[in-house]
Protein backbone atom coordinates (compact mmCIF):
# COMPACT_ATOMS: atom_id res chain seq x y z
CA UNK A 1 0.00 0.00 0.00
CA UNK A 2 2.78 2.40 0.94
CA UNK A 3 4.54 1.44 -2.29
CA UNK A 4 1.49 2.46 -4.33
CA UNK A 5 1.20 5.81 -2.54
CA UNK A 6 4.86 6.62 -3.10
CA UNK A 7 4.77 5.42 -6.70
CA UNK A 8 1.81 7.63 -7.66
CA UNK A 9 3.23 10.59 -5.73
CA UNK A 10 6.63 10.50 -7.43
CA UNK A 11 5.29 9.43 -10.83
CA UNK A 12 2.81 12.32 -10.87
CA UNK A 13 5.44 14.78 -9.74
CA UNK A 14 7.87 13.50 -12.39
CA UNK A 15 5.26 13.89 -15.14
CA UNK A 16 4.36 17.44 -14.05
CA UNK A 17 8.05 18.39 -13.89
CA UNK A 18 8.67 16.87 -17.34
CA UNK A 19 5.79 18.87 -18.79
CA UNK A 20 7.22 22.02 -17.23
CA UNK A 21 10.62 21.28 -18.81
CA UNK A 22 9.00 21.29 -22.23
CA UNK A 23 6.62 24.21 -21.78
CA UNK A 24 8.41 26.81 -19.68
CA UNK A 25 9.76 29.77 -21.61
CA UNK A 26 12.83 30.47 -19.49
CA UNK A 27 15.71 27.98 -19.95
CA UNK A 28 16.65 28.25 -16.27
CA UNK A 29 13.17 27.15 -15.21
CA UNK A 30 13.42 24.20 -17.58
CA UNK A 31 16.69 23.09 -16.02
CA UNK A 32 15.28 23.40 -12.50
CA UNK A 33 12.16 21.43 -13.48
CA UNK A 34 14.37 18.70 -14.90
CA UNK A 35 16.16 18.66 -11.53
CA UNK A 36 12.82 17.94 -9.82
CA UNK A 37 12.08 15.18 -12.36
CA UNK A 38 15.51 13.60 -11.73
CA UNK A 39 14.94 13.55 -7.98
CA UNK A 40 11.53 11.91 -8.47
CA UNK A 41 13.10 9.29 -10.74
CA UNK A 42 15.82 8.66 -8.14
CA UNK A 43 13.05 8.03 -5.58
CA UNK A 44 11.43 5.57 -7.98
CA UNK A 45 14.79 3.82 -8.38
CA UNK A 46 14.92 3.42 -4.60
CA UNK A 47 11.41 1.92 -4.71
CA UNK A 48 12.74 -0.54 -7.29
CA UNK A 49 15.67 -1.52 -5.07
CA UNK A 50 18.36 0.13 -7.19
CA UNK A 51 20.07 2.10 -4.45
CA UNK A 52 23.42 2.63 -6.14
CA UNK A 53 21.83 3.85 -9.35
CA UNK A 54 19.61 6.23 -7.37
CA UNK A 55 22.69 7.71 -5.71
CA UNK A 56 24.48 7.95 -9.07
CA UNK A 57 21.43 9.62 -10.58
CA UNK A 58 21.55 12.40 -7.98
CA UNK A 59 25.35 12.73 -7.94
CA UNK A 60 25.96 12.63 -11.68
CA UNK A 61 22.77 14.00 -13.22
CA UNK A 62 21.62 16.50 -10.62
CA UNK A 63 25.10 17.29 -9.36
CA UNK A 64 27.16 17.42 -12.53
CA UNK A 65 25.10 17.51 -15.71
CA UNK A 66 22.43 20.00 -14.65
CA UNK A 67 24.98 22.27 -12.99
CA UNK A 68 26.84 22.22 -16.32
CA UNK A 69 23.62 23.31 -18.05
CA UNK A 70 23.16 26.17 -15.57
CA UNK A 71 26.80 27.23 -16.01
CA UNK A 72 26.44 27.36 -19.78
CA UNK A 73 23.17 29.32 -19.63
CA UNK A 74 24.74 31.88 -17.32
CA UNK A 75 28.04 31.94 -19.22
CA UNK A 76 26.38 32.70 -22.54
CA UNK A 77 24.37 35.55 -21.06
CA UNK A 78 22.60 36.30 -24.33
CA UNK A 79 21.00 39.65 -24.88
CA UNK A 80 17.23 39.98 -24.83
CA UNK A 81 16.79 40.03 -28.56
CA UNK A 82 18.77 36.83 -29.15
CA UNK A 83 17.00 35.13 -26.28
CA UNK A 84 13.59 36.10 -27.61
CA UNK A 85 14.36 34.40 -30.92
CA UNK A 86 15.10 31.11 -29.17
CA UNK A 87 11.85 31.18 -27.21
CA UNK A 88 9.71 30.57 -30.23
CA UNK A 89 8.13 27.19 -30.66
CA UNK A 90 8.04 25.72 -34.14
CA UNK A 91 5.74 22.97 -35.34
CA UNK A 92 3.83 23.36 -32.09
CA UNK A 93 0.64 21.71 -33.29
CA UNK A 94 2.26 19.04 -35.44
CA UNK A 95 4.89 18.16 -32.84
CA UNK A 96 2.34 17.82 -30.07
CA UNK A 97 0.08 15.74 -32.28
CA UNK A 98 2.86 13.35 -33.34
CA UNK A 99 3.99 13.00 -29.73
CA UNK A 100 0.42 12.34 -28.55
CA UNK A 101 -0.15 9.65 -31.17
CA UNK A 102 3.20 8.03 -30.47
CA UNK A 103 2.66 8.19 -26.71
CA UNK A 104 -0.77 6.60 -26.90
CA UNK A 105 0.64 3.93 -29.19
CA UNK A 106 3.50 3.18 -26.79
CA UNK A 107 1.22 3.00 -23.76
CA UNK A 108 -1.18 0.70 -25.60
CA UNK A 109 1.64 -1.56 -26.75
CA UNK A 110 3.03 -1.83 -23.22
CA UNK A 111 -0.39 -2.47 -21.68
CA UNK A 112 -1.24 -4.98 -24.40
CA UNK A 113 2.01 -6.91 -24.14
CA UNK A 114 1.76 -7.09 -20.36
CA UNK A 115 -1.94 -7.96 -20.15
CA UNK A 116 -2.55 -11.52 -19.02
CA UNK A 117 1.13 -12.16 -18.57
CA UNK A 118 2.11 -12.68 -14.99
CA UNK A 119 5.78 -12.27 -14.35
CA UNK A 120 6.93 -15.00 -11.98
CA UNK A 121 8.10 -13.53 -8.69
CA UNK A 122 11.86 -13.58 -8.40
CA UNK A 123 13.92 -13.36 -5.22
CA UNK A 124 14.45 -9.80 -4.10
CA UNK A 125 17.62 -8.44 -5.72
CA UNK A 126 18.76 -5.14 -4.41
CA UNK A 127 21.38 -3.15 -6.27
CA UNK A 128 24.04 -2.89 -3.62
CA UNK A 129 27.52 -1.62 -4.40
CA UNK A 130 28.97 -5.12 -3.95
CA UNK A 131 26.61 -6.79 -6.40
CA UNK A 132 26.96 -4.11 -9.07
CA UNK A 133 30.74 -3.97 -8.71
CA UNK A 134 30.95 -7.74 -9.14
CA UNK A 135 29.13 -7.50 -12.47
CA UNK A 136 30.93 -4.35 -13.53
CA UNK A 137 34.42 -5.79 -13.09
CA UNK A 138 33.76 -9.26 -14.47
CA UNK A 139 31.09 -9.46 -17.13
CA UNK A 140 31.13 -5.79 -18.16
CA UNK A 141 34.83 -5.07 -17.77
CA UNK A 142 35.46 -4.18 -21.42
CA UNK A 143 32.52 -1.73 -21.71
CA UNK A 144 33.63 -0.20 -18.41
CA UNK A 145 37.13 0.46 -19.75
CA UNK A 146 35.72 1.79 -23.02
CA UNK A 147 33.60 4.20 -20.98
CA UNK A 148 36.71 5.79 -19.52
CA UNK A 149 38.08 6.21 -23.03
CA UNK A 150 34.81 7.81 -24.14
CA UNK A 151 34.94 10.28 -21.24
CA UNK A 152 38.54 11.19 -22.15
CA UNK A 153 37.51 11.78 -25.76
CA UNK A 154 34.56 13.92 -24.62
CA UNK A 155 36.81 16.05 -22.37
CA UNK A 156 39.32 16.65 -25.17
CA UNK A 157 36.52 17.38 -27.63
CA UNK A 158 34.81 19.84 -25.31
CA UNK A 159 38.04 21.70 -24.54
CA UNK A 160 38.97 21.90 -28.22
CA UNK A 161 35.53 23.12 -29.23
CA UNK A 162 34.98 25.67 -26.49
CA UNK A 163 38.53 27.10 -26.43
CA UNK A 164 38.20 30.81 -26.88
CA UNK A 165 41.26 31.37 -29.10
CA UNK A 166 41.22 28.90 -31.93
CA UNK A 167 44.04 28.68 -34.49
CA UNK A 168 41.90 30.45 -37.09
CA UNK A 169 41.06 33.47 -34.97
Amino acid sequence: MAEAIFFYLFAGLALIAALLVVTSRQPVYSVLSLLVAMFCLASLFVLLGAYVVAALQILLYAGAVLVLFLFVIMLLNLDRETLARTRSFTLRGAGTLVALVLGMGLVRIVAHAMAGRSVPPVPEQTGTVERLAQLLFTKYLLPFELTSFLILAAIIGAITLARSTGPDE
Partner: protein, 100 residues
Protein backbone atom coordinates in the same frame (compact mmCIF):
# COMPACT_ATOMS: atom_id res chain seq x y z
CA UNK B 1 0.04 -3.43 -6.24
CA UNK B 2 2.52 -1.67 -8.47
CA UNK B 3 3.61 -3.90 -11.32
CA UNK B 4 6.13 -3.68 -14.12
CA UNK B 5 3.42 -2.27 -16.38
CA UNK B 6 3.01 0.83 -14.21
CA UNK B 7 6.69 1.65 -14.52
CA UNK B 8 6.76 0.95 -18.26
CA UNK B 9 3.76 3.22 -18.87
CA UNK B 10 5.40 6.01 -16.86
CA UNK B 11 8.59 5.48 -18.85
CA UNK B 12 6.68 5.66 -22.15
CA UNK B 13 4.95 8.89 -21.07
CA UNK B 14 8.21 10.55 -20.02
CA UNK B 15 9.84 9.48 -23.29
CA UNK B 16 6.97 10.99 -25.26
CA UNK B 17 7.12 14.28 -23.36
CA UNK B 18 10.83 14.49 -24.16
CA UNK B 19 10.15 13.76 -27.81
CA UNK B 20 7.48 16.46 -27.95
CA UNK B 21 10.01 18.87 -26.47
CA UNK B 22 12.62 18.03 -29.10
CA UNK B 23 10.10 18.62 -31.88
CA UNK B 24 8.61 21.85 -30.57
CA UNK B 25 11.51 23.69 -28.93
CA UNK B 26 14.13 25.53 -30.99
CA UNK B 27 16.66 26.42 -28.31
CA UNK B 28 19.58 23.97 -28.60
CA UNK B 29 20.07 23.91 -24.82
CA UNK B 30 16.43 22.93 -24.35
CA UNK B 31 16.73 20.27 -27.03
CA UNK B 32 19.68 18.80 -25.09
CA UNK B 33 17.59 18.94 -21.90
CA UNK B 34 14.77 17.03 -23.58
CA UNK B 35 17.28 14.40 -24.74
CA UNK B 36 18.29 14.01 -21.08
CA UNK B 37 14.64 13.49 -20.22
CA UNK B 38 14.39 10.70 -22.82
CA UNK B 39 17.56 9.07 -21.44
CA UNK B 40 15.95 9.08 -18.01
CA UNK B 41 12.78 7.47 -19.31
CA UNK B 42 14.86 4.68 -20.86
CA UNK B 43 16.78 4.28 -17.58
CA UNK B 44 13.52 3.83 -15.69
CA UNK B 45 12.50 1.03 -18.07
CA UNK B 46 15.89 -0.66 -17.60
CA UNK B 47 15.63 -0.54 -13.80
CA UNK B 48 12.03 -1.76 -13.84
CA UNK B 49 13.03 -4.75 -15.99
CA UNK B 50 16.06 -5.42 -13.79
CA UNK B 51 13.75 -5.66 -10.78
CA UNK B 52 11.11 -7.74 -12.52
CA UNK B 53 13.58 -10.23 -14.03
CA UNK B 54 15.78 -10.34 -10.94
CA UNK B 55 18.86 -9.53 -13.02
CA UNK B 56 21.09 -6.64 -11.87
CA UNK B 57 22.59 -6.33 -15.37
CA UNK B 58 19.91 -3.74 -16.10
CA UNK B 59 21.33 -1.51 -13.38
CA UNK B 60 24.83 -1.82 -14.83
CA UNK B 61 23.48 -0.75 -18.22
CA UNK B 62 21.94 2.32 -16.57
CA UNK B 63 25.38 3.15 -15.18
CA UNK B 64 26.74 3.11 -18.74
CA UNK B 65 23.82 5.18 -20.04
CA UNK B 66 24.47 7.85 -17.42
CA UNK B 67 28.14 8.00 -18.39
CA UNK B 68 27.43 8.23 -22.11
CA UNK B 69 24.81 10.93 -21.43
CA UNK B 70 27.36 12.95 -19.46
CA UNK B 71 29.86 12.73 -22.34
CA UNK B 72 27.19 13.66 -24.88
CA UNK B 73 26.07 16.68 -22.85
CA UNK B 74 29.64 17.93 -22.46
CA UNK B 75 30.28 17.98 -26.20
CA UNK B 76 26.76 19.25 -26.96
CA UNK B 77 27.11 22.20 -24.61
CA UNK B 78 30.55 23.01 -26.05
CA UNK B 79 28.92 23.16 -29.48
CA UNK B 80 26.18 25.40 -28.04
CA UNK B 81 28.83 27.78 -26.65
CA UNK B 82 30.54 27.83 -30.04
CA UNK B 83 27.22 28.57 -31.77
CA UNK B 84 26.49 31.44 -29.41
CA UNK B 85 29.96 32.92 -29.96
CA UNK B 86 30.34 32.59 -33.72
CA UNK B 87 26.74 32.94 -34.90
CA UNK B 88 25.31 34.72 -31.82
CA UNK B 89 22.23 32.54 -31.82
CA UNK B 90 20.96 29.50 -29.98
CA UNK B 91 18.07 28.90 -32.36
CA UNK B 92 18.54 25.56 -34.11
CA UNK B 93 16.58 26.78 -37.13
CA UNK B 94 18.95 29.66 -37.78
CA UNK B 95 22.01 27.43 -38.08
CA UNK B 96 21.64 26.33 -41.67
CA UNK B 97 25.24 26.59 -42.89
CA UNK B 98 25.19 23.10 -44.33
CA UNK B 99 21.89 23.63 -46.13
CA UNK B 100 21.90 24.55 -49.82
Amino acid sequence: MITLTHYLVLSALLFTIGLAGIMTRRNVILILLCIELMFNAANLAFIAFAKSLGDPSGQVIVFFVITVAAAEVTVGLAIAILMARRLSTLNADEVSLLKW
